[in-house]
């Protein structure tokens, strides 16, 4: 049987000289879920962009149902029946679901948009493909999982027979993932084909029929999901065995109270309470994980403790110092370090060099600055040492940090923050968009900081990351702590998920048992 979509010998060199795809062959069977996995920078996204007409290959051929086809633009891809849902949605927040879906190919009544027809069509579409969503609600009022459905509906409305989903689960809570997978199954049973990019292997194994693995721009192999294991896939992706296993803090070591967060209240940009009355004690040599669907106060909590957002109520004590209202500089002097959630917007200055980025937090240190003058040599040496220690792939300390890949940039941020040997370490999404090899490395280093006696406060959109690293976990829902656990085998993503989505709340006693 002819495959639905075939890519033969796809080759892509970007103008900068990056050889992103090297002779890629891919064959996607009709009505199946085909996953493409690989580390960051393996070339998955480039391949998908080529299949959606965003990028043009330098060589190679694409065949749709056996017919050669040239996809010179996304418009051509859509016309050919290919739809793509990007990680970053392109929706108009103030438009309703139906308006967003039909935007660009609206049903008209005379010159006007036929709202009624639009709503009806979209509702039918949603029912048919098991993507339930309220079509008359503005998109901005929907949670992320539902916004994603709107994106899928958009593609289906344009009659996509092949749907490319770019890391669709990255932004979803566990329950939402279950719903997405149900929708994916109903899509394939109705003759649609799904091309699924991911790097969370358990999910890939669960949903896919076939899995193709890419590494360093090449197609390493394609296997049936039934025959693959997490371990075998990881080995194909990284090229060696990967141990994503972090030891818990060793038992028996006294964990003294280091940081006391009392009745903390923080407002968001709109002046509403994003964090309300949070009480939490962080102890030395321990990682506390904060779980929550994005937008439930985690960012504001971390910004407030990090000194980037004013605290409107309560207090934060670090050791014996009250750091509630002090400057970032004083917080850092008191022993705080901060691996921020966005390494580009917050964690680095893209145009500056790696060495300058590394020294930025140490400008009061006599090693690097004396009498207001920079000691360029020791700044460079310090950076070179960290580059070596964290095996950052970069030409040298003088390269602009903006030219580094995501994983390497994150390594620089982590290296800088850990080099000050902090007593309190804030960590937000430390491995977001970072490949497996670097993830392993970053995890080990966070654990090392913990073993050196740091109190670590961690949040991540990836629950498996929190479960792998944290000694205790709390769940934030609408800015409040609704549950707290000691990390044991019984705590699963599903257990956390029901608290994260606000379906359940622990009693105060249960919570306090794990919080104290």
């Amino acid at each position: 049987m002819t495959p639905f979509l075939e890519a033969i010998g796809i080759d892509k060199i970007y103008p900068g000289g990056v050889h992103a795809n090297k002779g890629i062959d891919l064959s996607v069977a009709h009505s199946t879920v085909h996953a493409v996995v690989g580390e960051n920078g393996a070339g998955k996204s480039t391949l998908m962009k080529i299949l959606f007409g965003v990028e043009q290959p330098n060589a190679g051929e694409i065949r749709l149902e056996g017919q050669p086809i040239v996809l010179h633009s996304p418009r051509a891809a859509i016309a050919a029946g290919i739809g793509m849902v990007f990680q970053h949605f392109s929706l108009v927040p103030s438009f309703t679901v139906a308006e967003n879906v039909v935007l660009g190919v609206e049903p008209r009544a005379g010159l006007k948009l036929d709202r009624k027809k639009a709503s009806e069509t979209v509702r039918e579409l949603a029912e048919r493909f098991r993507l339930p969503v309220d079509v008359d609600v503005p998109v901005e009022q929907l949670p992320v999982g539902q916004q994603q459905r709107v994106e899928i509906l958009k593609a289906l409305y344009r009659d996509a027979r092949l749907l490319i989903l770019d890391e669709p689960t990255a932004v979803l809570a566990p329950q939402e993932v279950v719903e997405l997978f149900a929708a994916v199954r109903s899509l394939t049973s109705q003759g649609r084909t799904i091309l699924f990019i991911a790097h969370k292997l358990p999910e890939v194994l669960e949903i896919s029929d076939t899995i193709s693995v890419m590494r360093a721009g090449k197609m390493v192999g394609t296997v049936a999901a039934k025959e693959a294991t997490e371990k075998s896939l990881a080995r194909m992706m990284v090229g060696r065995d990967v141990a994503l296993k972090i030891n818990r803090a060793a038992p028996g070591i006294p964990h003294t109270h280091l940081c006391r967060i009392s009745d903390l209240t923080v407002k968001n940009d709109h002046g509403l309470n994003a964090v309300s009355d949070v009480n939490l004690v962080l102890r030395t040599g321990e990682i506390v994980g904060i779980a929550g669907v994005e937008g439930n106060g985690q960012s504001e909590l971390f910004d407030a403790i990090g000194g980037l957002r004013p605290i409107s109520g309560g207090s934060v004590e670090l050791g014996t110092t009250d750091i509630t209202h002090v400057s970032v500089l004083e917080r850092r002097a008191a022993g705080m370090a901060n691996i921020p959630e966005d390494r580009i917007a917050t964690g680095s200055a893209g145009g500056a060099t790696v060495a300058e980025n590394i020294v930025a937090t140490e400008l009061t240190d006599k090693r690097f600055v004396r009498h207001g003058l920079l000691d360029l040599k020791s700044i460079r040496d310090h950076a070179a040492k960290l580059i070596e220690k964290f095996s950052v792939r970069v030409q040298g300390p003088e390269s602009a940090i903006g030219t580094l890949s995501g994983g390497n940039m994150q390594k620089v941020v982590v290296a800088r923050e850990l080099s000050s040997e902090p007593s309190l370490l804030l960590v937000s999404h430390p491995t977001r968009g970072v490949d497996l090899g670097a993830t392993e490395f970053i995890w080990q280093n966070i654990a090392k900081a913990r073993d050196a006696g740091a109190a670590v406060l961690l949040t991540s959109a990836d629950l498996s990351e929190i479960l792998a690293l944290a000694d205790r976990m709390i769940v934030l829902y609408r800015g409040r702590i609704v549950a707290a656990f000691v990390n044991t085998e019984e705590v699963t993503p599903e257990v956390l998920g029901s608290y994260m989505l606000g379906f359940a709340e622990q009693s105060a006693e249960e919570r306090n048992a794990a919080l104290a």
């Binding site: 990090g306 200055a349 930025a360």
Partner: protein, 357 residues
Amino acid sequence: MTQGRLFLSETGRIVMAAIFALAVTLIIIFFASKTPWATFETFVTSPLSSKRTIGIWIDDSVKLALAGLAFSLVFQARQFALGVQGQVYIGGLFATLVAFSPIGTTWLALPAGILAAMIGGAFIGFIPGYAKSKLGANEIVSSLMLNYIAYDICNYILRVYLASLESGLTTSAPFPAQSIYPAFIPRTRVDLGIVIALATTVVVWFLLYRTAWGLKLRLTGHNARFAAYSGIRSSFIMVSAMTAAGAIGGLLGAVFVQGTAYGKLSIGFEAGMAFEGILITIVARNRPLAIPFVALGYGYLRQGAALMNYRADVPAEVIGIVQGIVILLVASSFTVPGKAMLARLMGNRTAASRATS
């Protein structure tokens, strides 16, 4: 990309932009002039035609470089303070006051005048910075408004207290000789200003790339949120950058009035040159060490256009068009036009995709 390759590609871009701008100038001259080739030749060669014109070229370049340096400091901190013009007038005024004071006839005249000018300029630079950090006032608006205020203060004091009767109230009496720069080459405008501009270039470079203050300033400019996250007091950096730039603006004012070209205070002496510093620093990508070279190149085109105005039948406004083209080409990521299209025609899909993406 390494620093070396970056330097080469940037230099190449500037040279290409200049060649392109010259080509467009030639086309304009063809439409405007009866003797286009002769006019173009005037445009291209006249700045070198005599010792005097070379002196004017150098003197203009000195002033353009100083204006560019002042802007480069604030632009590197990503503050769009446009107050150099006002700083020049206040600086010029302060230098003039010193020149006509008892100090003006002593050996202290030049350093004291320069210092006074820099203090005056720094104050004018400080105001929009302070207003921004304390009141959230937009620095573009406040610095532009301050330009008018400074200009009119300068004119007011000139007319009421300093104007000499012979000049029809538009200029002061000539400065005492001790308050005027010595000319390095007699009967040209090549004077102490050139030393001041070069020294300032080195100082600005040193401040930006060798001091902690400069690193903080550049990091704030690259990413203000990152600076705040790292513990850099970005509002202090912002205000101090604007103040330091103001001092350079004031210095430029002193270089104007104390220079051999003037040696007195006149109404509108700056003639809009301060704003051309924006062009200089944009083309130099805010790199202080590149600024003198860009100033020389641009000063040459500017001088050529002015002389073309006198000696041929094409107005100097042509330079405005050239200016616009150069900014457009350098500020945009300019490559040789038609390269992509040519490549597409030849079937090379790499370049073609670059054009569409």
